[in-house]
Protein backbone atom coordinates (compact mmCIF):
# COMPACT_ATOMS: atom_id res chain seq x y z
CA UNK A 1 0.00 0.00 0.00
CA UNK A 2 2.54 2.57 1.15
CA UNK A 3 5.00 1.26 -1.43
CA UNK A 4 2.44 1.91 -4.15
CA UNK A 5 1.93 5.44 -2.88
CA UNK A 6 5.64 6.15 -2.87
CA UNK A 7 6.09 4.90 -6.42
CA UNK A 8 3.05 6.92 -7.49
CA UNK A 9 4.47 10.06 -5.91
CA UNK A 10 7.84 9.43 -7.55
CA UNK A 11 6.13 9.03 -10.88
CA UNK A 12 4.10 12.20 -10.39
CA UNK A 13 6.91 14.37 -9.09
CA UNK A 14 8.85 15.15 -12.28
CA UNK A 15 5.79 15.92 -14.43
CA UNK A 16 4.49 18.26 -11.74
CA UNK A 17 7.86 20.04 -11.67
CA UNK A 18 7.76 20.75 -15.39
CA UNK A 19 4.09 21.77 -15.21
CA UNK A 20 5.02 24.32 -12.56
CA UNK A 21 7.66 25.84 -14.85
CA UNK A 22 5.33 26.13 -17.83
CA UNK A 23 2.36 27.49 -15.87
CA UNK A 24 4.49 30.12 -14.17
CA UNK A 25 5.64 31.55 -17.52
CA UNK A 26 2.03 31.41 -18.71
CA UNK A 27 0.83 33.04 -15.50
CA UNK A 28 3.32 35.91 -15.87
CA UNK A 29 2.26 36.42 -19.50
CA UNK A 30 -1.47 36.35 -18.65
CA UNK A 31 -0.81 38.68 -15.70
CA UNK A 32 1.13 41.11 -17.88
CA UNK A 33 -1.60 41.12 -20.55
CA UNK A 34 -4.41 41.74 -18.05
CA UNK A 35 -2.38 44.39 -16.19
CA UNK A 36 -1.64 46.26 -19.45
CA UNK A 37 -5.33 46.16 -20.42
CA UNK A 38 -6.46 47.45 -17.00
CA UNK A 39 -3.78 50.19 -16.92
CA UNK A 40 -4.74 51.36 -20.42
CA UNK A 41 -8.42 51.31 -19.42
CA UNK A 42 -7.87 53.49 -16.35
CA UNK A 43 -5.63 55.99 -18.14
CA UNK A 44 -8.01 56.03 -21.12
CA UNK A 45 -11.01 56.67 -18.88
CA UNK A 46 -9.21 59.48 -17.04
CA UNK A 47 -7.66 61.21 -20.07
CA UNK A 48 -10.66 61.13 -22.44
CA UNK A 49 -14.22 62.18 -21.76
CA UNK A 50 -15.97 59.01 -22.87
CA UNK A 51 -16.94 58.10 -19.29
CA UNK A 52 -19.75 59.94 -17.50
CA UNK A 53 -17.80 62.26 -15.17
CA UNK A 54 -19.54 61.49 -11.82
CA UNK A 55 -18.98 57.76 -12.37
CA UNK A 56 -15.26 58.11 -13.14
CA UNK A 57 -14.10 57.75 -9.51
CA UNK A 58 -15.99 54.47 -9.07
CA UNK A 59 -14.69 53.11 -12.39
CA UNK A 60 -11.08 53.99 -11.50
CA UNK A 61 -11.46 52.33 -8.07
CA UNK A 62 -12.87 49.16 -9.65
CA UNK A 63 -10.08 49.04 -12.26
CA UNK A 64 -7.38 49.58 -9.59
CA UNK A 65 -8.78 46.85 -7.33
CA UNK A 66 -9.03 44.49 -10.32
CA UNK A 67 -5.41 45.20 -11.25
CA UNK A 68 -4.26 44.63 -7.67
CA UNK A 69 -6.09 41.29 -7.79
CA UNK A 70 -4.35 40.41 -11.07
CA UNK A 71 -0.95 41.26 -9.55
CA UNK A 72 -1.66 39.20 -6.43
CA UNK A 73 -2.79 36.12 -8.35
CA UNK A 74 -0.43 36.12 -11.35
CA UNK A 75 2.71 37.85 -10.00
CA UNK A 76 2.67 37.19 -6.25
CA UNK A 77 1.07 33.73 -6.77
CA UNK A 78 -1.51 34.05 -4.01
CA UNK A 79 -3.94 31.23 -4.72
CA UNK A 80 -6.74 29.35 -2.99
CA UNK A 81 -4.62 26.20 -2.65
CA UNK A 82 -4.20 24.84 0.90
CA UNK A 83 -0.49 25.64 0.73
CA UNK A 84 -1.14 29.39 0.75
CA UNK A 85 -3.83 29.39 3.47
CA UNK A 86 -1.53 31.27 5.85
CA UNK A 87 -0.67 33.79 3.15
CA UNK A 88 -4.37 34.43 2.49
CA UNK A 89 -5.07 34.83 6.21
CA UNK A 90 -2.24 37.36 6.61
CA UNK A 91 -3.42 39.17 3.47
CA UNK A 92 -6.98 39.37 4.80
CA UNK A 93 -5.69 40.89 8.05
CA UNK A 94 -3.54 43.34 6.07
CA UNK A 95 -6.53 44.45 3.98
CA UNK A 96 -8.57 44.84 7.18
CA UNK A 97 -5.92 47.11 8.78
CA UNK A 98 -5.49 49.14 5.58
CA UNK A 99 -9.28 49.62 5.38
CA UNK A 100 -9.47 50.71 9.03
CA UNK A 101 -6.63 53.22 8.62
CA UNK A 102 -7.80 54.73 5.32
CA UNK A 103 -11.58 54.84 5.78
CA UNK A 104 -11.30 55.55 9.53
CA UNK A 105 -9.10 58.59 8.84
CA UNK A 106 -11.41 59.83 6.10
CA UNK A 107 -14.56 59.51 8.24
CA UNK A 108 -12.98 61.07 11.35
CA UNK A 109 -11.42 63.98 9.48
CA UNK A 110 -14.63 64.69 7.52
CA UNK A 111 -16.59 64.66 10.79
CA UNK A 112 -14.11 67.03 12.47
CA UNK A 113 -14.21 69.26 9.43
CA UNK A 114 -18.02 69.46 9.58
CA UNK A 115 -18.06 70.23 13.29
CA UNK A 116 -15.32 72.85 13.24
CA UNK A 117 -16.24 76.52 13.24
CA UNK A 118 -15.13 78.48 10.20
CA UNK A 119 -11.70 79.99 10.80
CA UNK A 120 -12.81 83.65 11.02
CA UNK A 121 -15.42 82.88 13.69
CA UNK A 122 -12.81 80.89 15.62
CA UNK A 123 -10.48 83.91 15.59
CA UNK A 124 -13.36 86.14 16.77
CA UNK A 125 -14.01 83.89 19.78
CA UNK A 126 -10.37 83.85 20.83
CA UNK A 127 -10.17 87.63 21.04
Amino acid sequence: MSEGEVSASLKDAPTEETDEGVTSLQSYLIGLGLAILLTLASFGAALTHVVWAPGLAVLLAVLAIAQMGVHLVFFLHVSSSPGSANTILALAFGIFVVGLVVFGSLIIMANLNDNMLPMDQLMQMQR
Binding site: G21, L32, M68, L76, L91, L106
Partner: protein, 203 residues
Protein backbone atom coordinates in the same frame (compact mmCIF):
# COMPACT_ATOMS: atom_id res chain seq x y z
CA UNK B 1 4.54 20.90 -5.76
CA UNK B 2 5.43 17.76 -3.83
CA UNK B 3 3.14 19.04 -1.04
CA UNK B 4 0.11 18.31 -3.21
CA UNK B 5 1.13 14.65 -3.53
CA UNK B 6 1.59 14.11 0.22
CA UNK B 7 -1.52 16.07 1.14
CA UNK B 8 -4.09 13.30 1.07
CA UNK B 9 -1.88 10.86 2.98
CA UNK B 10 -0.75 12.91 6.00
CA UNK B 11 -2.99 15.39 7.84
CA UNK B 12 -1.67 18.96 8.05
CA UNK B 13 -1.08 18.71 11.82
CA UNK B 14 1.31 15.77 11.39
CA UNK B 15 3.39 17.01 8.49
CA UNK B 16 6.08 18.61 10.66
CA UNK B 17 7.67 22.00 10.13
CA UNK B 18 7.37 23.56 6.68
CA UNK B 19 10.45 23.85 4.48
CA UNK B 20 12.75 26.83 5.04
CA UNK B 21 11.72 28.22 1.65
CA UNK B 22 8.05 28.32 2.68
CA UNK B 23 8.81 29.81 6.12
CA UNK B 24 11.12 32.49 4.68
CA UNK B 25 8.56 33.51 2.03
CA UNK B 26 5.82 33.68 4.65
CA UNK B 27 7.92 35.80 7.00
CA UNK B 28 8.81 38.15 4.18
CA UNK B 29 5.13 38.31 3.17
CA UNK B 30 4.31 39.49 6.73
CA UNK B 31 6.98 42.20 6.40
CA UNK B 32 5.47 43.30 3.08
CA UNK B 33 2.01 43.56 4.63
CA UNK B 34 3.41 45.75 7.43
CA UNK B 35 5.08 47.89 4.77
CA UNK B 36 1.74 48.21 2.99
CA UNK B 37 0.19 49.35 6.30
CA UNK B 38 2.80 52.17 6.40
CA UNK B 39 1.72 53.16 2.90
CA UNK B 40 -1.95 53.04 3.96
CA UNK B 41 -1.16 55.75 6.55
CA UNK B 42 0.43 57.91 3.85
CA UNK B 43 -2.54 57.25 1.51
CA UNK B 44 -4.95 58.26 4.29
CA UNK B 45 -2.97 61.48 4.87
CA UNK B 46 -3.04 62.24 1.15
CA UNK B 47 -6.77 61.53 0.86
CA UNK B 48 -7.52 63.85 3.79
CA UNK B 49 -5.19 66.65 2.65
CA UNK B 50 -5.52 66.50 -1.13
CA UNK B 51 -7.89 69.53 -1.26
CA UNK B 52 -5.88 71.65 1.23
CA UNK B 53 -3.74 73.56 -1.24
CA UNK B 54 -3.46 76.78 0.85
CA UNK B 55 -3.93 78.88 -2.29
CA UNK B 56 -1.04 77.06 -4.00
CA UNK B 57 -1.11 74.94 -7.15
CA UNK B 58 -3.56 72.00 -7.31
CA UNK B 59 -2.82 68.51 -8.55
CA UNK B 60 -4.72 69.11 -11.79
CA UNK B 61 -2.36 72.01 -12.60
CA UNK B 62 0.83 70.13 -11.69
CA UNK B 63 0.58 66.54 -12.90
CA UNK B 64 1.57 65.48 -16.42
CA UNK B 65 -0.35 62.24 -16.95
CA UNK B 66 1.68 61.19 -20.03
CA UNK B 67 4.81 61.29 -17.89
CA UNK B 68 3.01 59.18 -15.26
CA UNK B 69 1.89 56.69 -17.91
CA UNK B 70 5.51 56.11 -18.99
CA UNK B 71 6.54 55.66 -15.33
CA UNK B 72 3.71 53.15 -14.85
CA UNK B 73 4.74 51.20 -17.96
CA UNK B 74 8.37 51.03 -16.76
CA UNK B 75 7.37 49.66 -13.37
CA UNK B 76 4.85 47.17 -14.77
CA UNK B 77 7.35 45.82 -17.32
CA UNK B 78 10.06 45.59 -14.64
CA UNK B 79 7.63 43.57 -12.52
CA UNK B 80 7.18 41.20 -15.49
CA UNK B 81 10.92 40.85 -16.15
CA UNK B 82 11.39 40.20 -12.42
CA UNK B 83 8.99 37.29 -12.91
CA UNK B 84 11.20 36.09 -15.80
CA UNK B 85 14.15 36.24 -13.34
CA UNK B 86 12.27 33.84 -11.08
CA UNK B 87 11.68 31.45 -13.99
CA UNK B 88 15.40 31.60 -14.84
CA UNK B 89 16.11 30.88 -11.17
CA UNK B 90 13.80 27.84 -11.18
CA UNK B 91 15.56 26.51 -14.28
CA UNK B 92 18.97 27.25 -12.74
CA UNK B 93 20.04 29.33 -15.74
CA UNK B 94 22.49 31.90 -14.42
CA UNK B 95 22.92 33.66 -17.76
CA UNK B 96 19.16 34.30 -18.17
CA UNK B 97 19.03 35.42 -14.54
CA UNK B 98 21.70 38.07 -15.21
CA UNK B 99 19.97 39.15 -18.42
CA UNK B 100 16.49 39.64 -16.93
CA UNK B 101 17.92 41.18 -13.74
CA UNK B 102 19.75 43.72 -15.89
CA UNK B 103 16.50 44.51 -17.75
CA UNK B 104 14.64 44.78 -14.42
CA UNK B 105 17.32 47.12 -13.09
CA UNK B 106 17.25 49.28 -16.22
CA UNK B 107 13.45 49.62 -16.10
CA UNK B 108 13.46 50.35 -12.35
CA UNK B 109 16.26 52.90 -12.79
CA UNK B 110 14.36 54.66 -15.59
CA UNK B 111 11.30 54.81 -13.31
CA UNK B 112 13.41 56.52 -10.62
CA UNK B 113 15.02 58.84 -13.19
CA UNK B 114 11.57 59.90 -14.49
CA UNK B 115 10.30 60.49 -10.96
CA UNK B 116 13.40 62.51 -10.01
CA UNK B 117 13.05 64.65 -13.14
CA UNK B 118 9.38 65.26 -12.24
CA UNK B 119 10.33 66.29 -8.69
CA UNK B 120 13.17 68.54 -9.90
CA UNK B 121 10.84 70.26 -12.40
CA UNK B 122 8.35 70.87 -9.58
CA UNK B 123 11.07 72.19 -7.24
CA UNK B 124 12.35 74.57 -9.93
CA UNK B 125 8.81 76.05 -10.12
CA UNK B 126 8.87 76.66 -6.36
CA UNK B 127 6.55 73.70 -5.74
CA UNK B 128 7.97 71.94 -2.69
CA UNK B 129 6.72 70.07 0.40
CA UNK B 130 6.57 73.27 2.48
CA UNK B 131 4.17 75.02 0.07
CA UNK B 132 0.91 73.39 1.25
CA UNK B 133 -0.49 70.43 3.18
CA UNK B 134 -1.46 68.84 -0.15
CA UNK B 135 2.14 69.02 -1.40
CA UNK B 136 3.53 67.71 1.92
CA UNK B 137 1.28 64.66 1.65
CA UNK B 138 2.07 64.24 -2.07
CA UNK B 139 5.85 64.31 -1.65
CA UNK B 140 5.68 62.07 1.44
CA UNK B 141 3.62 59.38 -0.35
CA UNK B 142 5.31 59.40 -3.77
CA UNK B 143 8.74 60.01 -2.20
CA UNK B 144 8.40 57.03 0.14
CA UNK B 145 7.46 54.81 -2.79
CA UNK B 146 10.43 56.14 -4.79
CA UNK B 147 12.72 55.47 -1.82
CA UNK B 148 11.45 51.87 -1.68
CA UNK B 149 12.17 51.40 -5.38
CA UNK B 150 15.69 52.85 -4.89
CA UNK B 151 16.33 50.44 -2.01
CA UNK B 152 15.03 47.62 -4.24
CA UNK B 153 17.53 48.60 -6.97
CA UNK B 154 20.41 48.51 -4.45
CA UNK B 155 19.16 45.12 -3.24
CA UNK B 156 19.11 43.80 -6.82
CA UNK B 157 22.74 44.89 -7.40
CA UNK B 158 23.80 43.22 -4.13
CA UNK B 159 21.94 40.02 -5.11
CA UNK B 160 23.69 39.92 -8.49
CA UNK B 161 27.05 40.33 -6.73
CA UNK B 162 26.10 37.46 -4.40
CA UNK B 163 25.04 35.24 -7.32
CA UNK B 164 28.37 35.99 -9.01
CA UNK B 165 30.48 35.22 -5.94
CA UNK B 166 28.47 32.53 -4.11
CA UNK B 167 26.53 30.90 -6.97
CA UNK B 168 22.92 29.70 -6.92
CA UNK B 169 22.97 28.01 -3.51
CA UNK B 170 19.63 27.62 -1.62
CA UNK B 171 20.22 30.64 0.63
CA UNK B 172 20.80 32.92 -2.35
CA UNK B 173 17.74 31.50 -4.10
CA UNK B 174 15.57 32.30 -1.06
CA UNK B 175 16.91 35.86 -1.01
CA UNK B 176 16.07 36.27 -4.69
CA UNK B 177 12.51 34.99 -4.07
CA UNK B 178 12.15 37.59 -1.29
CA UNK B 179 13.44 40.28 -3.66
CA UNK B 180 10.84 39.34 -6.28
CA UNK B 181 8.06 39.51 -3.65
CA UNK B 182 9.32 42.98 -2.64
CA UNK B 183 9.45 44.19 -6.24
CA UNK B 184 5.94 42.94 -7.08
CA UNK B 185 4.58 44.53 -3.88
CA UNK B 186 6.07 47.90 -4.92
CA UNK B 187 4.19 47.64 -8.21
CA UNK B 188 1.03 46.85 -6.21
CA UNK B 189 1.50 50.07 -4.19
CA UNK B 190 2.15 52.04 -7.38
CA UNK B 191 -1.30 51.01 -8.71
CA UNK B 192 -2.76 52.80 -5.68
CA UNK B 193 -0.49 55.82 -6.23
CA UNK B 194 -1.27 56.37 -9.89
CA UNK B 195 -5.00 55.78 -9.39
CA UNK B 196 -5.51 57.92 -6.27
CA UNK B 197 -2.85 60.62 -6.70
CA UNK B 198 -2.52 61.12 -10.44
CA UNK B 199 -5.75 59.91 -12.06
CA UNK B 200 -7.75 61.03 -9.01
CA UNK B 201 -7.28 64.70 -10.00
CA UNK B 202 -9.48 64.06 -13.06
CA UNK B 203 -12.49 62.98 -10.99
Amino acid sequence: MSGAVVEGAIPISQRGPASTRVVVSYGFWLFLLSDIVIFSGLFAAYAVLSQRTAGGPTGAQLFDLRHVFIETSCLLLSSFTCGLCMIALERGSQRMLYLWSAVTFALGASFIALELSEFLTLFSQGVNPTRSAFLSAFFALVGTHGLHVTVGLCWLVIMMAQVATLGLRPKIKRRLVCFSLFWHALDLVWIGVFTIVYLGVRT
